[in-house]
């Protein structure tokens, strides 16, 4: 039975939290602002009223301590979901996440487990600046024992959130602020998702675009315009950062003649693209017929000023140029980029977003 509803990414997160709270009596939803009037950009709306203040709660401004407290509660059988409105705030809790959560099951010989979800949001635009818009997915993905996912579509947001909560391991669930308003189909009656595997967003034959989080939206935009110029790109959404699905990329490359563009929402130095590439080279090197491209941010912090921050972020235009370059079709670049241009200010995901947060 299919039961498809259209909803925004943010609404899908809320729906998953709602369903999980109903399904798992041991689940807790905790974080700064979870029950406040703005309810984490609407994603926790009404949940305290429905499930009570004991299970849906605010917390002291103490990220490190509260992470450890949630790990302790998880050891004792609870399923905490701890929310940070910015991934930057989770940096305060790296000790607990890396030294404890990620290693507990292993170092005690599998006798104990930490069913914990850390929900974090990557900020962008409206002058979020150096300390409120970092992309740290690769750093967390380098920690064995942590699962790291960054779903792109509303459907994946829903199913991954449910699966992350059901999982008996610590899962870092990364949302991009600019995905929250995007609508998508959610089929609630799918079987429980696996927290692994890339998603095929668009089938194509000439080149593979493997993209992460919000960059998948940009890649899809690029592919759609390229299609109108007769260029057929395949788009893979790398919705799991750890474990990384190298097999799907290799399979796609076998089809597209070994041409690959990776697009990540992170500085080049901190891009999971490097991990993907090195794994590809080590295991499927023969599939790479041409030197691949990595589209990522420059290797410095995001300046606040919108005049320069607008040039910090590559998007569909850079992806399309790389594709055309690789396919020796640079004569199309000008018109494709023209077709991709929008009049929306580059520091707003949509017109309804006018800051300040």
């Amino acid at each position: 039975m299919r039961d498809v509803v259209m909803m925004s990414y943010g609404e899908a997160i809320r729906a998953a939290l709602d369903d999980a709270l109903a399904k798992f009596p041991e689940m807790l939803l905790i974080g700064e602002g979870v029950p406040d009037p703005k309810t984490i950009f609407g994603t926790t709306q009404g949940l305290r009223e429905k499930y009570g203040a004991e299970r849906v709660l605010d917390m002291p401004l103490a990220e490190n301590g509260m992470t450890g407290i949630c790990i302790g509660a998880a050891l004792a059988g609870m399923r905490p979901v701890l929310v940070h409105q910015r991934i930057d705030f989770a940096l305060l809790s790296v000790d607990q996440l890396v030294n404890n959560a990620a290693k507990w099951h292993y170092m005690f010989d599998g006798q104990q487990q930490v069913p914990l979800v850390i929900r974090v949001i990557i900020g962008r635009g409206w002058g979020q600046g150096p300390q409120h818009s970092q992309s740290l997915q690769a750093m967390f993905a380098q920690v064995p024992g942590l699962k790291v996912v960054m779903p792109t579509t509303a459907g994946d947001a829903y199913h991954f959130m449910l699966a992350a909560i059901a999982d008996n391991n610590p899962v870092l669930f990364i949302e991009h602020r600019w995905l929250h308003h995007i609508q998508g189909e959610v089929d609630k009656h799918c079987p429980m998702a696996e927290l692994s595997g890339a998603a095929l967003l668009r089938q194509g034959t000439e080149i593979t675009l493997a993209a992460f989080s919000h960059m998948s939206i940009e890649a899809l935009k690029a592919a759609t315009v390229l299609a109108s110029y007769g260029i057929d790109a395949e788009v893979l959404d790398m919705r799991c950062v750890s474990p990384l699905d190298v097999e799907s990329v290799a399979a796609s490359l076998a089809k597209t003649g070994g041409k690959l563009v990776i697009a990540d929402c992170a500085p080049e130095l901190a891009s999971t693209g490097h991990q993907l590439l090195s794994k590809l080279v080590l295991t499927h090197g023969h599939h790479l017929q041409q030197v691949p491209r990595l589209i990522a941010y420059p290797n410095h912090p995001v300046p606040t000023s919108h005049f320069v921050a607008n040039h910090y972020y590559p998007g569909a235009e850079q992806i399309a140029s790389a594709v055309l370059d690789m396919l020796d079709r640079s004569e199309l670049t000008e018109s494709v980029i023209g077709a991709l241009q929008s009049d929306l200010p580059k520091d707003q995901p949509d017109r309804s977003f006018v800051g300040p947060f």
């Binding site: 406040d36 401004l61 305060l92 300390q131 420059p298 606040t304 005049f307 320069v308 040039h311 300040p356």
Partner: protein, 342 residues
Amino acid sequence: MTVMSPAPADLKHLYYQMLRIRRAEEAIARRYAEQQMRCPTHLCIGEEAIAVGVCAHLTAQDKVFSNHRGHGHYLAKGGDLPRLLAELYGYAEGCCGGRGGSMHLTDLEAGFVASTPIVGGTVPLAAGYAWAEQMKKSDAAQGSASVAGGRMPEATNVVVIFFGDGCFEEGVMHETLNFAVLKQLPLLFICENNQYSVMTPLAERQPKRDIYKIAAAHGLNTFSGDGNRADEVFQLAQSAVTNARNGLGPQFLELHTHRWPEHCGPNEDDDLGYRSAGELAEWKLRCPLLQTRQMLLGLQLSNDAELVQMDAQLTEEIEQAFAWALQGSRPTIDSMRQHLYA
């Protein structure tokens, strides 16, 4: 030591500084809707007395560290107003060259070292700065003792860290308090207790007990008082600064106040209902400017005409600062790469 109420000139100075911050913040709030200041902006309207009452005792050599709600601290310490505004607009002439926006300010000439928005982030930095000042002073004292034979070393420069009640919950706060006492640092901890962290009331985050008493248990000399009374803040800070300058170690002030606008942004948000009914209105009656104004008039230290003129003069200064800021230049795209390493 004796605690002095502010002299007439001091009281007028406090009022002037508070009014300057209030008018600047109001002007920012008004113009924010034009969508040209494109950065998260936390206004300090309602809390001006704390920054002003503390900074009144600081010299340009003393240093201030601050947080996300830093405009008042910056201005009270003598930070450059036009460059603050240029920063909000993202221009190269801003105090951080446009890289910081409202949440990252600096003015080294004025002794305002930095404000940053990760809560608690600047707290240990202030302690480290004070530690260095202390080490530099004892070096200088040893040097001068050998020359001038036992002359009293000059009093130490002090460092001030402004932070909120929410910040007091961060672990780094307590790690820093411990070290500050251990080293007897010339450091002032100024806790602006406005009872909220974003929209979460204190009671959802901390048990019912006084923040300053925890600092006292760490071994700090503590004060608590009405953060909306500039004269009271002035008096408490006078004792605290004198203590810190004279080697009596770190001082802690818990000052009670209330933020009027929304946590972040230019508007009021009483309609959201997270404050208890009548709370904001009651705090507005206890407006720090209003109270000081009444004192000035009641004690006949000033008169309406003088205060109206003061207001007009400040409005003019702020208008000119905006005019200057708005003529700023865009930072170049190439410049974005500079200064990653020193």
